[in-house]
Structures are given as C-alpha cells and as structure tokens.
C-alpha cells in the first residue's frame, strides 16, 4: 500500500489526453446530438454494451477503455449493467440469428432517447461473417444505427473518439 501511495504521488497519472473527433460522420452526429442529448441528459451518457456475436476482440478493447490510460469515466461516459439505465447501446458482432431476439429485447428495454452505436467491422456490416446462414450481417439489419466505429477490433483510441463525439464535445 505504501508503494502504491508513493507511486501515485511521484509518478503522476498514466491517463492520456483525449483524442479529437476529426471524422466527418462523428462531427455530423455530434452536431445532431448536441441539442437533444445535451438538453435531456446533460454531459453524461450511460452505455450498455451488447455482444451480438462478437469474437470477443471488440469487448477486450472496450474493456481497455476503463484502464488508467483511457479512463472513460472522466468524460462522463460509463458502462451500466442494465439497458433500463442506458442511453446508448454499444453493439458488437455481426448479430447472430441466435442473438437477434436478445438484442431486440435489450433495445426495447432501453428508454428513449437512445442511440445505437455499432462497434467493429462485424457490427458495421457483418465483416467476414456477412453472408453466413447464422448472421444478420451487421447491426443495421436489425436496428437503426446512429454511429459506426469500424476496425477489427477498433482500438481504444478509436472507440473513445466515437463515444466522445456522442457527447458533442
């Protein structure tokens, strides 16, 4: 414990500055959300992550957002356990036939206003699993999508960029 306190005092935080949202899609979304989201939700968003058939690679990078380097919560973004507490559904995977209903139910359980973010190539358009008998081929095939964050998996910095854009900063 002593070393921990000393380290914290002497070494300073590991947390890195936030990446800027430079992407056109992100800017447009930020502008669109600016009014509604800010007015109703203030400067914080609750995120419910749903794995709809991911290989788990995307989840690992989403997890990384909570480590000291990225420290997601400093932006007012936090992961919540229930869709009933969520403003944003962060969906990964190509939406397998076996997860389709669970995803729809999770969406239905999320109170409005709500946004759907597709994270990762699989969620964006099915990725390598598009065309399989077992997949819908992306979140768009099942739910209206507000933001796509491509990458296989998207790096934590890329994810952070997209999520910050949701706050319209």
């Amino acid at each position: 414990m002593r070393t921990l306190l000393l380290d914290a005092l002497l070494k300073g935080p590991l947390t890195e500055p936030a990446p800027a949202a430079d992407d056109a899609e992100l800017m447009a979304l930020a502008a669109q959300l600016e009014g509604a989201a800010r007015r109703r939700l203030g400067r914080g968003l609750a995120i419910r992550q749903v794995d709809a058939g991911s290989c788990n690679g995307c989840e690992l990078e989403i997890h990384a957002l909570s480590n000291a380097y990225y420290d997601l919560e400093r932006f007012g973004l936090r992961f919540v356990a229930s869709p009933r507490h969520a403003d944003v559904l962060l969906v990964t995977g190509p939406v397998t036939a076996n997860m389709r209903e669970a995803l729809l139910r999770t969406h239905a359980a999320t109170p409005g206003p709500k946004w759907v973010v597709a994270a990762g190539s699989c969620a964006c358009d099915g990725g390598m699993f598009a065309g399989s008998y077992a997949c819908a081929g992306g979140v768009e095939a099942v739910l209206p999508v507000d933001l796509r964050i491509p990458g296989c998996p998207p790096s934590p910095a890329t994810l952070l960029k997209g999520l910050i854009a949701l706050l319209g900063r």
Binding site: D51, C55, L60, A68, C135, C152
Partner: protein, 503 residues
C-alpha cells in the same frame, strides 16, 4: 510405436493425412475406442462431423501421440461416444445440429448450437433441411425448497453471451446447466470453399483473445497438409507473438478474477500492465492483438526495428511490477477468503474431460501441447510447466501467475536467440486432396485444427476445436455447493471461451 498407433493400424490408414495418423475404422473399432476413452486409456481431443462421416481425435498421453479415427456414416448414424464418455456429448449434439448425423443411443439428444433461429437446419449437410424450432427443454428440477435462477444471454458486465440456469437451495447452487451457442456465426460453413488466405483471416476471428493461437493452429494444420514448414525466423516470431498473447490474457484475467472477488485494487494495476503488453505488441508487430500476422507459410510482419527493445522494456516493467502484485494477492486475507477453496474442480473430472490450460494444470493435469507434442520454437527453449493440485480459484490464479513468469522468460530467450532469415515460404498447389492436423497451446489450453484442402488448395473442410469444450462442463460441476454470488468469480477463474466453442 505409441499404443494408439497400434490400435489405429487395424483400420485403413489415410496416406494423405499428416503429421500423425488418421485411420478409417469400422463401427466395432469405433466402439472399442469409445470404451477405451471411458476407461481413461486415451484423452478425447476432438469429435467432429464431415460429409457422411465422423472423426474422433485421441491423445495417447503416455506415448505423446495424437491419432484420428474416422467412421463412415452410411445411414446417417454412428455409435454414440457420449453414451460411454460424457466429454463427447456436446460435440455429438453439435455434429447433429450441423451435419444431421445421429449418434445412436446418445444420452442427450437435445440440440446444442441450433436454437431454431437459423433459416435452415443441418446447414453443413449435403442437403440442409427446413428450420426446426422447438422450445429448449432444460433438465427437470424436482425437490422441496429448490428454486431456479435464469441468467443471460445478456449479462450485466461486458462479457460474452451465454445462458446459465441455476438450481439453488437457499443460496447454495445445487445444479448449474449451461446453454451456449448464442454467438454461433457459422465459421465452419464459411470455411468450406474459402481460400487458405481467407481461412487464416477467419481462424483469427473465431476467438478474439486467442487470435494468435487460432491463426497458428490453422497455419500449422495447412502446412502439415501441404508438407511444408515455415522458415525458422517465422516460427520464432510466431512463438514470440503467442507468448505476448498469453501474457496479455493472464495478466488481464488475474486482475479481473480479483475484481470479481470485489478487490479492484489488483484490477487497476493488472489492466495497466495488460495495456503495456498490447502496446509492446503493437510496437513489435503493428497491431495490438497481433491479428492477421500469422498465415500459412510464415508471418506477414517482421519484428519492427524498435520492437525488440520495446518488448524487452515490457519484460523489465513486468518483472519489476509482479512481486508487489503477487504479495498483495497473497497477503490480503479478505481476498484469499474468497479465492481459496472456492470453485473446486475435481482432479478426476479434469483428467476425464482432458481439461487443458490452467484449468487442467491447477487440478493436477500437467498437459501442455508445447511440452507433450513440442513444436518450434518451444523444442529449443527452456521453460517449466507449472502444475498445482489445489483445484480451486486460488490454484488457477497461481498457475497463471507462474505461467506469466515462464512466458517472460520465454520472451527473453526468443529475443536473445532470434534467428535471421526469410519470413515465409510460398505454398504449393497440392494437386490432390490432402489433410493436416495441429495442436497448439493457447493461453486457455490446446487449440486443435483440422484442415482438408482440395486439389486446387482451397479449403474443403476445416474444424477448429476450442479448449473450452472440455472446460465448460467441468465448471458446471465446480460450482456445485458454492453460493450463487460466487459464480462470477468461479466463471472468471475458468474464463472459458464462448465465441471459441460457439464457432
């Protein structure tokens, strides 16, 4: 000659299968092998379907040999192995779901991967059928005072989807029944007819935390089929990537297990250390998880010029950080109170199911593919395979701590002695169908890959077997008698794959 080869030799040996033996056997020999599995003479490594046939991979642990027995299913049936040997049951249910082949006298005939949601049934059979949807019959529960708790597929945390049906008496779990298959993406269907390059990319996307292990298993199976070997430098770079992957997962999970015991004090530094591993991997190989870096024939990226120094720096950082993390883990009574004695995996069950990885090695089963069936570069490196017999959450954490130490040593050895040379060889066009099998040690245990190529070198059949096929059932047993509140802790200490087994 290993005993397994002698037994298989009475079948018809396939000359186009490498590097071990595959024999076409008759129903009598198939049943005899199943009986010997049940007697503990062999360990089941895999059981999978094909067009009109089933294959069973066996390990002869004493002889360090692997063999495959194949049985033609002329009438669409085969004698059930699961009838005698429980570890085969879910694999047989999968064969029925995907190929429509029926295990005769199987004790459990419920579907496994097929939830009645696909547009077809038996998608990999020559003639797929119409979808069949029937409500899933969970095992019946009877008894006074028992209640059921259903959890999933969507969980509270950021984890993969699966359904857990607990039967509890008060707080104590009397039975857990797992239902998986939610992330079935049809990997083996997409593999059929794909090029080797597409197959490698798909293999790397089966199970995200083991992308290196899967790509390596697939590459080695293709290379075995074609009778080629990756150049030495490529093999060593693959080893380096595999150990970095092991480090990232072990370190991250040690923190996560402690977090599930309500001790985030260790989650934070472990998450930082894991991030440092991923950043070193990115500096070395251009991608945090080293996805798409291993392909049949070699590797696609050399170690970046600054990469070696960056990885060495990581090793020193980790070596400096570990003693304190270990002393916190070992010296916090409230944490030990949660991990010691919890989630006991019985050694006899672990041996019967052939649990690989730290689940096996924490319950006395010392199998490690790097040691028992050594492949490059491990045959030239020095490392220990830590084995404990505690069988509880604590033992699984300790095995992983010790494996972190071993992997750090392996990384240093590989950097010190990295051979020079080319990064890949061109793959020949086979000209005739050929097959290969590979077994590779991922962080979770041994990943099996079977690949059959057609004459043009396209994939005719590819089967990938995740280590968790044989770990999930043991988790059901390990949770018995524990309180429901300890399930996340037990579950995390096993850390079974969902995507890997759902395919």
């Amino acid at each position: 000659m290993p005993a397994l080869f002698n037994v298989l030799a009475s079948g018809r040996i396939r000359p186009d299968h490498r590097p071990w033996l595959r024999a076409e056997v008759d129903a009598a020999l198939w049943c005899a092998l199943a009986q010997q599995l049940a007697e503990g003479r062999w360990t089941l490594l895999g059981l999978w379907g094909d067009a009109g046939a089933v294959h069973m991979a066996l390990l002869d642990a004493t002889g360090g040999a692997v063999g495959v027995a194949s049985l033609a299913c002329a009438d669409g049936t085969f004698p059930s192995v699961g009838r005698l040997h429980a570890p085969a049951q879910r694999l047989e249910r999968t064969i029925t779901d995907l190929f429509g082949l029926t295990p005769v006298d199987a004790p459990d005939t419920r579907p496994w991967l097929d939830h009645g949601r696909w547009p077809v049934s038996r998608p990999l059979a020559a003639r797929p059928g119409a979808p069949e949807a029937a409500p899933y019959a969970f095992l019946p529960v009877e008894g006074e005072g028992l209640h059921e708790v259903a959890v999933g597929p969507v969980h509270a945390g950021i984890i993969e989807p699966g359904h857990f049906r607990f039967t509890a008496n008060g707080e104590a779990v009397v039975r857990l029944e797992e239902r998986l298959g939610y992330v079935h993406r049809g990997v083996e269907g997409l593999m059929a007819g794909a090029s080797v390059a597409q197959g490698a990319a798909l293999a790397g996307r089966v199970c995200g935390d083991s992308t290196v292990a899967y790509a390596l298993a697939f590459a080695r199976a293709v290379e075995a089929a074609l009778g080629v070997a990756a150049p030495e430098r490529a093999q060593w770079l693959r080893g380096l990537m595999a150990e970095l992957e092991r480090l990232a997962n072990h370190i991250g999970d040690i923190g996560a297990v402690c977090n599930d015991a309500a001790f985030p004090r260790l989650l934070a530094p472990c998450a930082v250390l894991r991030e440092q591993v991923l950043r070193a991997a990115e500096a070395g190989f251009g991608q945090r998880m080293m996805k798409d870096r291993i392909v049949p024939g070699g590797v696609t990226a050399d170690l970046a010029p600054a990469g070696a120094a960056r990885i060495r720096a990581l090793v020193s950082t980790a070596r400096a950080a570990l003693p304190e993390l270990i002393s916190i883990y070992d010296g916090t009574a409230s944490l030990q109170d949660r991990t010691a004695g919890t989630g006991f995996a019985r050694p006899d069950l672990v041996a019967r199911f052939g649990c690989g990885g730290f689940v096996g090695r924490a319950s006395g089963r010392g199998f490690d593919a790097r040691r028992v069936l050594p492949y490059a570069p491990y045959d030239a490196l020095t490392f220990a395979v830590p084995v404990l017999d505690g069988g509880d959450v604590n033992a699984r954490v300790w095995v992983r701590i010790k494996e972190v130490e071993q992997s750090l040593g392996l990384v240093t050895q590989m950097l010190d002695r990295m051979p020079e040379g080319p990064l890949g060889v061109d793959l020949p066009v086979p000209g005739a169908p050929c097959e290969g099998l590979a077994l590779v040690e991922g962080f979770r245990g041994d990943v099996l890959a079977f690949v059959r190529l057609d004459a043009e070198g396209r994939i005719a059949r590819c089967h990938l077997r995740d280590p968790s096929w044989f770990q999930w059932p043991v988790l059901e047993a390990a949770i018995e008698g524990n309180i429901i509140a300890d399930f996340p802790l037990c579950n995390k200490s096993f850390n079974c794959a969902y995507a890997g087994v759902d395919l």
